[in-house]
């Protein structure tokens, strides 16, 4: 059974915002099929009644107090940005109205 089809790869790439060329898609159909096929091993195990691990540490309620701490100077915030106008991070015009 082919575990993964090209359509699956394309759907997942869409969710992950990746563009893949044809060769890479083909390659991933094979690789992901193999790996996911291997992962199906887990179905051998009966996990009824087993709680999923949320955290290996049994910690709860780690908080900070509601106190304002200094923010970054704007120059430092924008320092690594590919495109800015000195105030905003600039991205290609967003057409979709939110």
């Amino acid at each position: 059974m082919a575990k993964i089809t090209k359509a699956d790869v394309e759907y997942v790439a869409g969710l992950a915002q990746l563009t893949l060329d044809e060769a890479t898609k083909e390659r991933l159909v094979g690789e992901m099929g193999d790996i996911l096929g291997y992962m199906d091993k887990l179905n051998e195990l009966d996990t009824t009644g087993i709680e999923p691990t949320m955290h290996v540490l049994e910690m709860t309620n780690v908080f900070r107090e509601d106190e304002v701490t200094p923010s970054l100077p704007r120059d430092a915030a924008l320092m690594n940005a590919p495109k800015t106008d000195g105030e905003y991070f600039l991205v290609p015009r967003i057409l979709d109205t939110e």
């Binding site: 993964i4 699956d8 790869v9 759907y11 997942v12 790439a13 969710l15 992950a16 915002q17 990746l18 563009t19 893949l20 890479t24 390659r27 991933l28 690789e31 992901m32 193999d34 790996i35 996911l36 291997y38 992962m39 199906d40 091993k41 887990l42 179905n43 051998e44 195990l45 996990t47 087993i50 709680e51 999923p52 691990t53 949320m54 955290h55 290996v56 540490l57 910690m59 780690v62 900070r64 970054l72 430092a76 915030a77 320092m79 690594n80 940005a81 590919p82 495109k83 991070f89 991205v91 290609p92 015009r93 967003i94 057409l95």
Partner: protein, 491 residues
């Protein structure tokens, strides 16, 4: 002697510096000169901070001159895996997507080490975003194994392992998500520890898989390991998952005494998958400990066979979200000439990520996607509970668990790049430790016939790094050999 400070351990350096037998600057210069000499062969460093390191060393010397305490790691050169945020230089995770990225802050471990008097000679190579077991996935360069330049140093912290084994720095920091400290430490013949999850703050560690990642040191010996742990362990209010558990003075655990300690040998680890030569090395090491009064107990970790599948579901799922932020908006690479936002994301990510990273993002996205979450992600988190329970059960019968670190010594560059599953299977002995959140240490237990280091792994109960260190220290004291200078760097 004064020319070979680079060969010394952290303890020797800090004692000499504190006693004014040598200046921190001299040590730093020795280390920088060594890097200049051998890094052309090893390709461990991706960035050397000669000026900054000298300034840090001078600051340590100035403190000493002023009669102030220069800290417990005074003048110790510590290399930094490029997965840790540093204000100095760039922080790129050896990915094209973060080329040139300058972090506005230092990771908590860097702050603590700086406070302790450490000197940072530069950044070390790694697999892109710590995804890999050979450092071949770096977008920058391929690091070599100091014992055989045709072999990989292991990964993902291959640069860190090679730098310490090659005596380019006394200590290096790495990160371990599924073995990324222990496996390269084994491949390169140095000591490396993955602490209990929550022991070391992850603040400033660029996340790969948040529930598995831990920072840890590579050192030349167990004593140095304890020394660094003293500084970097402990609760950090910036990391909600950092444990509020007191940090003992780990150097006090360094006593050669294992009498009555029970060493658990999980039967699932000693199978045919383990090469005969490796098995012999491990057994010889166990004999040493047994001869000193340790008790050998066979234990069982029945879900071992499911660890790799479990691990690759969880780590890819977390990674798919952790890496989503690299989108070309606030920092990092943005593909040129994009017309709209979707194109910006797609072209940026597709052009900048290497294939291993893309594959893991794809896998992680898949296992979380609607219709597959229960079958993969949720199932894996349940199996993770079983794996953790295995360890807790085993630790009822033993104090530490002793295993090989990896089934084979370092492999040849290019040998496993074609088959990802084959590469994933090489993490078989290290992965469960991360899933269970327990501490694990790798240390050399000899050389194979082909002259490559073999690694011994010791695991302990959560937060019981002291027992782990005691066993490791005892073995190191009594094993009867020195690793010495790696073959490829002799003469």
């Amino acid at each position: 002697m004064s020319n070979s400070w680079y060969e010394k351990t952290a303890l020797e350096i800090r004692d000499a510096v504190r006693a004014k037998k040598v200046s921190a600057l001299e040590v730093t210069d020795s280390c920088l000169k060594r890097i200049e000499e051998v890094d052309g062969k090893l390709l461990a460093f991706i960035d050397v901070w000669a000026d900054a390191a000298r300034k840090q060393a001078q600051a340590v010397d100035a403190k000493i001159a002023a009669g102030k305490d220069p800290g417990p790691l005074a003048g110790v050169p510590i290399g930094v895996k490029d997965v840790l945020c540093t204000k100095e230089g760039t922080t790129t995770c050896c990915s094209k997507i973060l080329k040139g990225y300058r972090s506005p802050f230092d990771a908590t471990v860097i702050e603590r080490l700086a406070e302790a008097g450490a000197v940072f000679p530069g950044k070390l190579n790694m697999d892109e975003f710590a995804m890999g077991s050979s450092t071949e996935n770096s977008s920058i360069q391929r690091t070599r194994n100091p014992w055989n330049l045709d072999c990989v140093p292991g990964g993902s912290s291959g640069g860190s392992a090679a730098a310490v084994a090659g005596h380019e720095c006394a200590v290096a920091l790495g990160s371990d998500t599924g073995g990324s400290i222990r496996q390269p430490a084994a491949c390169c013949g140095c000591v490396g520890i993955k602490p209990t999850y929550g022991r070391v703050s992850r603040y400033g560690l660029v996340a790969f898989a948040s529930s598995l990642d831990q920072i840890g040191p590579f050192t030349k010996d167990v004593t140095d390991c304890a020394l660094v742990m003293n500084t970097i362990f402990g609760r950090d209010p910036k990391d909600s998952t950092s444990a509020d558990i007191p940090v003992p003075d780990f150097t006090k655990a360094l006593t050669p005494a294992v009498k009555g300690l029970r060493l658990g040998l999980p039967k699932e680890y000693y199978t045919d998958a383990l090469g005969a030569e490796m098995r012999d090395k491990i057994q010889a090491a166990i004999k040493v400990l047994e001869s000193l009064g340790a008790e050998i107990v066979e234990v069982s970790l029945p879900h071992t066979d499911y660890a790799i599948a479990t691990y690759y579901i969880i780590c890819t799922a977390e990674a798919s979200a952790n890496l989503a932020r690299f989108d070309g908006v606030r920092y990092g690479y943005r593909a040129p000439g994009v017309a709209n936002v979707d194109e910006m994301y797609r072209k940026t990510k597709s052009e900048a990520y290497g294939h291993e990273v893309r594959r893991r993002i794809m896998l992680g996205t898949y296992v979380l996607s609607s219709g597959y979450y229960d079958a993969y992600y949720l199932k894996a988190q349940k199996v993770r509970s079983l794996i953790r329970r295995d360890f807790m059960d085993a630790f009822k019968q033993c104090d530490v668990i002793v295993t090989p670190t990896s089934p084979t010594p370092a492999f040849k560059i290019g040998e496993k790049t074609a088959d990802p599953l084959e590469m994933y299977l090489s993490d078989i002995y290290t992965i469960s430790v991360n899933l269970a959140g327990i501490p694990g240490l790798s240390m050399p237990c000899g050389l194979t016939a082909s002259g490559l280091p073999a690694g011994l792994q010791i695991m302990a109960k959560p937060f019981d790094e002291e027992t782990l260190l005691r066993v490791a220290y005892t073995y190191e004291q009594k094993r009867g050999f020195e690793m010495g200078m790696p073959a490829a760097l002799r003469g």
